[in-house]
């Protein structure tokens, strides 16, 4: 395209100077705030060689932290998968008083600071809390042990699946399900063969986000876990603990693991998005063909 052509096609706010200024700014910000820190993590973690990294990661406390983190995620993700799907189903397929309020309430975990959420759980379920003191009589302890960590993680991550599903299910409507029921299908068959395939990718996307947050959650967990090394220490807490012990290499080794999970999550997220657009494009091109 030559100069005269481009000037003729120019629209408001389309001047090349502004365009390049914005691009350069965006790239600079991305490098300074996102890419550099990420690189530093890996550089520091590998600074003393692969051997040291392996040693640090196989440290017994680190291994325990990894195990606990995966355990918490393994409980949180299915719980919120079921909860989020049920909730999305409820608010998109039924009309009842308080429905709008419920949709707003779903966002509370996003609006509340995780530390505040952790404190609330501590006050409610701690040894001196309303529910906690009652449970203590039965010798059950939720706070400062893994059930507490799971509880706050479930709380913090519960909107992800529902948030992904609600707009999609609203847009798709319930006509297909109605068609299914008229054709004699049972409720379970409708869910399995009609609803689930329609929301599959949004569901996977929600799970990916839930998992990423469950693995990385720091604030709420730090309040309720008690940071007992080898017992209630999750990977993000472990990073902080190592750092405070001046074990910089160890801290970066664990951090690199978390960063690795994040990069992997991004890759999966990208793949899911690519799958969705590809299906859409394929259908559109075949339609016009």
């Amino acid at each position: 395209m030559n100069a005269s052509q481009s000037s003729r096609h120019r629209r408001v706010g389309d001047s090349p100077a502004i365009k390049w200024l914005l691009i350069v700014t965006a790239v600079a910000v991305a490098i300074a705030l996102l890419i550099m820190p990420l690189l530093v993590i890996f550089v520091e973690a590998l600074g003393a060689g692969w051997g040291t990294l392996a040693d640090n990661l196989t440290d017994q406390y680190t291994l325990h932290a990894i195990g606990l983190t995966l355990f918490v995620a393994a409980l949180t993700v299915p719980l919120n998968l079921v909860f989020g799907t049920a909730l999305a189903w409820l608010v998109t397929r039924f009309r009842f008083p308080g429905r709008k309020l419920l949709i707003t309430l779903i966002d509370i975990p996003f609006a509340v600071s995780p530390v505040v959420a952790g404190l609330l759980y501590l006050l409610l379920y701690g040894r001196n809390g309303w529910v906690g003191s009652w449970l203590a009589d039965y010798d059950m302890q939720l706070m400062f042990s893994w059930p507490g960590i799971v509880m706050v993680t479930v709380f913090v991550t519960c909107p992800f699946v529902a948030r992904e599903l609600i707009p999609l299910m609203q847009q798709q409507g319930s006509e297909e399900e109605e068609a299914g029921v008229v054709l004699g299908a049972s409720g379970w068959r409708i869910f399995r063969t009609i609803t689930l395939p329609n929301i599959k990718w949004a569901l996977i996307y929600g799970v990916v986000l839930t998992n990423a947050r469950a693995v990385g959650e720091f604030g709420a967990v730090s309040v309720v876990s008690g940071n007992i090394r080898g017992q209630t220490n999750t990977l993000p807490l472990h990073v902080e603990l190592l750092y405070q012990d001046y074990n910089i290499v160890g801290a970066f080794a664990s951090a690199s693991l978390l960063a690795g999970i994040a990069v992997f999550t991004l890759a999966v997220k990208g793949f899911v998005e690519w799958r969705q657009t590809r299906t859409l494009n394929r259908l559109q091109t075949e339609e016009t063909a």
């Binding site: 109605e178 299914g180 004699g184």
Partner: protein, 378 residues
């Protein structure tokens, strides 16, 4: 299977969607539920299907009360306005869905399901699209697949919610004819919802006209068109020209418009309803009518020439103060009416409404004017 609807009430919040509706749908007939949007026709259809429950009243199929029967067990075919095809299933899988949903004991073997699906694909003339997905089909194709899917389990009752609403005119006409043939071949008891009066009159054996949650009139299409019971049905079924005025000594007057009404004793306000084909255009006033009008537009498209006229020295009711008269092409070629010409409407048959909720009285002037002419009656 006959369908009986008895005293159905349905309320959505403050809105009374159906108001004590009772209906009899005869076996093997194609019935249209016709009405403007918000008249409750779709709600009624969904209650018959069992997709919606009524606040009170009952629904019976061939005398058997199904009010409490789950939609799943009613064994009806239902065609949705926007097709509601399962988007992630192929055309063949869509059609097979009903058969595969049957309880294990009644479910035919795989091979038989496949055979049935290919029969249905042949019937809708889309065997080559069996492996396509709904998004790859045109609107008309989607609707045919939806129909095939709904009749795969051989239901006795077929319910269609605005089946042609989302299609363009040409496809709509083809599908209409095709549905009529399908109905005649399989002898369903069918009900379809439409807001298109032409569609209702052309396709159905019986039309149920609805308005604001009430059934206004039930009749065969020809009877309904010839003898509407109420102003609403008159207005809703086709174009109508209205002269509203005062009757004095057997003559209806408004401004400088005047029509004599032979055999009418009524005194006071009244409205004369005239169909476009019940009026002739003349160059001067007739003995029994003085209805001067000025030509606004002439439309030559169709089997008749449609002339739109604006009253001169009086006013019409509704329809933007425009009268519409249909004349034959032969007549058009003789008279050459053009925009701006003055013409006089000469009614031949009319329908006089007096009072509020009365049925109309048919008035005929056939003897008083004897100008035989050849014209197309629609």
């Amino acid at each position: 299977m006959t369908i009986t609807v008895d005293g159905i009430n349905k309320r959505f919040g403050q809105f009374q969607a159906l108001n004590n509706v009772s209906l009899n749908i005869p076996e093997g007939k194609l019935t249209a539920l016709l009405g403007p949007s918000g008249s409750g026709k779709t709600t009624l259809l969904r209650i018959i299907a069992g997709l919606e429950s009524a606040d009170s009243g009952r629904v019976a199929f061939s005398g058997k009360d199904v009010t409490k029967l789950h939609v799943r067990d009613r064994n009806i075919g239902f065609v949705f306005q926007h097709y509601a095809l399962f988007r992630h299933m192929t055309v063949a899988q869509n059609i097979a869905f009903g058969l595969e949903s049957l309880p294990r004991k009644q479910r035919p073997p795989k091979a038989e399901i496949q055979k049935r699906v290919s029969e249905l694909l042949d019937m809708i003339q889309l065997p080559h699209l069996a492996q396509r997905f709904p998004a790859q089909l045109s609107g008309g194709q989607k609707q045919r697949v939806a129909l095939a899917r709904s009749i795969a389990t051989r239901p006795k009752i077929l319910l269609l919610d605005e089946p042609f609403g989302a299609l363009d005119a040409k496809v709509r006409k083809d599908l209409r004819r095709w549905l009529r043939n399908l109905h005649d071949e399989f002898h369903f008891t069918s009900i379809f919802v439409t807001h298109d009066q032409e569609e209702a009159l052309e396709l159905s054996d019986q039309v149920v006209v609805m308005s604001q949650g009430n059934v206004e009139q039930v009749n065969e299409p020809t009877e309904l068109y010839a003898r509407p019971d109420s102003r609403f049905v008159f207005d809703f079924l086709g174009q109508v020209n209205v002269l509203s005025g005062e009757v004095k000594h057997g003559s209806l007057n408004q401004g400088n418009a005047r029509v004599t009404l032979p055999g009418i004793q009524h005194q006071g306000s009244a409205q004369l309803y005239l169909r476009p084909h019940e009026v002739r255009l003349a160059t001067g006033p007739a003995e029994h009518a003085n209805l001067p009008l000025r030509i606004e537009a002439v439309s030559l498209i169709g089997s008749e020439v449609r002339v739109e006229l604006r009253p001169e020295g009086w006013a019409s009711e509704g329809s933007d103060n425009i009268w519409e008269v249909g004349i034959s092409h032969a007549e058009f070629n003789n008279q050459r009416p053009t925009r701006g010409d003055l013409r006089y409407a000469v009614p031949e048959v009319g329908h006089l409404f007096t009072g509020k909720d009365t049925q109309p009285v048919t008035v005929s002037w056939a003897e008083s004017e004897s100008l035989p002419r050849v014209r197309l009656i629609n």
